[in-house]
């Protein structure tokens, strides 16, 4: 039962991540301990990007082969992508309140991430409204491909848009020269999140397979 093993590994990783983030990593000079939210926030968005990359792969895979397992991959990955993007945005917002003084700001990174969320929530809504498996897979694949192709376009458009309106610099989540303990803690948490993602993905795809035969 490799999925179960994966689950335990993920749990172990998350535990290690917490230790690294709170025990090993030092208190950050400029921001104080609130910076530790980054050990959650950064791995979450990285995992979300991984998820959306898999949505693209699943989408192209289905259109190329018409085998439903590619669609199962895309659907499961999209769900997880939305989940982890949600964690990213919420943790980022909570971090922003004491640091920037606001719950939300329309800076480039936040806005791009929010748009990403909108695209894939739309993807999931579409899936929910199409009953026939082949049509659902085809439509979702097209939306998935367009959504993925749009990611760099959104990124640049939002970046230039903000540059126009906000010449003042805003503190980014991580300090520019990253101290080694902080980088290490980030790495451990990132690996943990990737394991968790893999575990969730495996389980979600297995469920999708069962649902097809229900």
């Amino acid at each position: 039962m490799t999925t179960r093993m994966l689950g335990w590994l993920a749990l172990l990783g998350l535990g290690g991540g917490l230790v690294a983030g709170f025990g090993y990593a030092p208190r950050e000079v400029a921001q104080g301990n609130v910076q530790r939210i980054m050990y959650l926030h950064v791995p979450a968005i990285l995992t979300a990007y991984l998820a959306f990359a898999l949505v693209l792969i699943g989408s192209v895979g289905y259109l190329a082969t018409r085998q439903l397992r590619w669609d199962r991959l895309a659907a499961a990955a999209a769900e997880l992508g939305v989940l982890f993007t949600g964690v990213t945005i919420i943790s980022g917002s909570i971090w922003g309140r004491p640091t920037w003084g606001v719950w939300w700001t329309w800076d480039a990174r936040l806005t791009s991430t929010a748009v990403l969320l909108l695209v894939y929530v739309g993807y999931l809504l579409l899936r929910g409204m199409v009953d026939e498996p082949d049509a659902r897979a085809r439509y979702a694949a097209v939306v998935g491909i367009l959504g993925a192709a749009n990611i760099p376009i959104v990124h640049f458009s939002v970046k230039w848009w903000r540059a126009l309106h906000q010449p003042s610099t805003i503190l980014g989540p991580e300090p520019s020269p990253i101290a080694t303990p902080i980088a290490l803690a980030l790495l451990v948490n990132w690996v943990a999140f990737t394991l968790l993602f893999a575990y969730f993905l495996a389980r979600r795809m297995a469920i999708a397979r069962l649902e097809e035969h229900a």
């Binding site: 609130v34 989940l83 909570i94 297995a206 999708a208």
Partner: protein, 48 residues
């Protein structure tokens, strides 16, 4: 320049919300898997 206050409340809130979401999703997976492993009663159609 005085150092930032620690704001542990916010740290707790962030990790707490993340935990709720992730554990919640895990429980959804467990529930769905359990549901699907029951013997089928009268042609129930699932939705992927």
């Amino acid at each position: 320049m005085s150092p930032m206050p620690d704001n542990w409340g916010y740290v707790l809130a962030a990790y707490g919300v993340a935990a709720v979401l992730l554990v919640g999703y895990w429980r959804y997976l467990a529930a769905r898997a359990h549901e699907l492993s029951q013997p089928v009663r009268g042609g129930r159609k699932g939705q992927a």
